[in-house]
Structure formats: structure tokens, C-alpha cells
Symmetry: C2
Subunit: 150 residues, 2 copies
DNA sequence: TTGGGTGCAAAATCTTTGCAATCAT
DNA sequence: ATGATTGCAAAGATTTTGCACCCAA
């Protein structure tokens, strides 16, 4: 069984990039925090714990590289920082997000949901869709429960 | 017939804000460029043409205020700057965007499209939706035509 | 006169870049 | 040797903030 990191290594190699120790450490952090939505700074601090010599610029360059290769997606929830999210392996499309305006949590929706909408947009707007970003802002189930208890 | 700016003035007043000349000039620019997706800097330069004494900070503060009052929406297409988009009057939901990865154009989709999806998300994820952001990245019809001609 | 609003400049944030040093082949 | 990669510091870009001044109620 091939590991996730090995497959990423191959993806890098097939574009003539190397999986350096710094890049590997960065990817590991992303894998270990797949549920989170880390900023470059977040990633940097986490990588530093295990590889203290790494520089912030390297993290930025690595994240940029991974974005180019479509291994991660760069997203922005409107708080001034870019966040980086591992693409779900094998998924045809980028997953969606539920941002809670009360507690700030970010949940993911892996299910596609947009098939019909995309078909309509391609047909009626003559737009060839390559990627999408869908984010809902609202109140997560946890905060709704908290409110009901009051 | 009440003008758009008069209605915005009332919205400001009902939250005890004034429509100062600077704010009015800023809103006017937004109204005159409703189809565009201006950054704060863009707005600043346009406002300056008619009100040269305005400061960039005032533009930022005005845009923030208008965002709070839900008169404009702050959006981010991943190019490092926030853009400000007048909400369509009377529209229940924020409109969607088509960003062309070839020419950088941004077209708008006013049609809602997400009714079914939102119903499903509210039901299955127990998420109370307050707002959404949907952006498609791809190739606009203009660039597709250009390619075919080659 | 009083508090909101403004302009300016400085500060704060986030991100990119130049460059010398280092590494792997 | 050679070209890719790195760390550091500096530069860039965007946005926010402090503060004195101004203005309308």
C-alpha cells in the first residue's frame, strides 16, 4: 500500500520537483491537520516544532508549489489571511465549507452538491468551469444547540 | 421615486450614521461601477477624481461601514485584495461570480441557483445558512470564442 | 460643546523577493 | 560543477490605527 506522502512525492517528481525535508515536513503538517484550515503562519509554527530550522519563506514557497500542483487549495474566508486545504484524494471537485459566524468553526462538505448547478452554468452562461469555491456563512449545529439550552 | 442613494442614506441614518460628502462620493463610485469588482484602492482613485481631498483611510472606513450594514459585500477572488460589490437591491441572496482564469474578467450571476442545495445543507448538516459565496473559476465565453478562431 | 467623522502618517499584517549559502546529483 | 532549494532579511503590498483637527447638531 502506497502512502499518501509517497503519492505526493510522485506528483512532485512528475513535475520535476523534489520532496525535500522541508517540503516533506510541511506536507506532514498538512496531513496531520487535514480537518483544519491552516494559514501559512499556522503551518510555519507547526512545522517549526519538528524542524526548527525552517524559514517562513520556504513554507510560503512550498504552499505555493502545492497549490500549483493542485495538491492543496488556497482559500480565503475573508479574515485577511490565506488558508491552505489539502484536496481530498480522488475527489473530482474541491469540497465546500460551512463557516460559523458565532464560533468561527469551519466544517467541510465533501459531497459535491453542485453537479446540476454547474451543468446549468456551463450551458446558460457558456462558461467552461475548471474549479469552484462554495462557502456558506451561518450558524453551526453546535452553536444552535447551545442557544436552545438557554 | 426614491433614488438608490436616498435609500442608502436612510439605511445609514437608521443605524445613526451620517451620509457625509465623503461617504456619498464613495457610494456614488460604487453605484457607477456596479458591474465592476473594485478594490479599496480602485475606489479611492475613482473617488479622488471628483473629491481629491479624500483620504484612503476614509475609503476603507466607509467600505467597512457599508459592509457592516450589508449594503456591499466584501469578496476575495484570491488575488490578495478585497473587493467590494454592491448588493443587488431586493435580492434575497448574494449573487455569484464567474472568474475567467485566462483574461481575469469577472461576470455575475444574479439568479439564485442554490435554493435546493441550501435546503439540503440546512437539513443534512443542521447548519443555519445566513449568507453564501459561490465563485466558479474557468474560461469565459469570450476567451472560448477567441480560442476557436485560432 | 460634544461626539462623530476626516486626513495624514505611522504602524501592523501578510506575502514576496534578492541573494548568498547549501544541497543533491 | 550545476541547478534547484533554502534561510534570512529586506522590500512590497494591503489594511488598520493614533491623533489632531474639523464640523454639524
Amino acid at each position: 500500500m502506497e502512502t499518501r506522502i509517497e503519492r505526493i512525492k510522485k506528483q512532485l517528481h512528475s513535475s520535476s520537483y523534489k520532496l525535500t525535508p522541508q517540503r516533506e515536513a510541511t506536507v506532514c503538517v498538512l496531513l496531520e491537520h487535514e480537518e483544519d484550515h491552516l494559514s501559512a503562519e499556522d503551518v510555519y509554527l507547526l512545522v517549526k516544532e519538528k524542524s526548527p530550522e525552517i524559514g517562513l519563506a520556504t513554507v510560503y514557497r512550498t504552499l505555493e508549489l502545492l497549490t500549483e500542483l493542485k495538491i492543496v487549495d488556497k482559500i480565503n474566508f475573508g479574515d485577511g489571511v490565506s488558508r491552505y486545504d489539502l484536496r481530498t484524494e480522488g475527489a473530482a471537485h474541491f469540497h465546500h465549507h460551512l463557516v460559523c459566524i458565532e464560533c468561527g468553526s469551519v466544517d467541510e462538505i465533501q459531497q459535491d452538491l453542485l453537479d446540476d448547478v454547474e451543468e446549468l452554468v456551463e450551458r446558460d452562461w457558456k462558461f467552461k468551469i475548471k474549479d469552484h469555491r462554495l462557502t456558506f456563512h451561518g450558524i453551526c449545529y453546535r452553536c444552535q444547540e447551545k442557544k436552545q439550552q438557554k
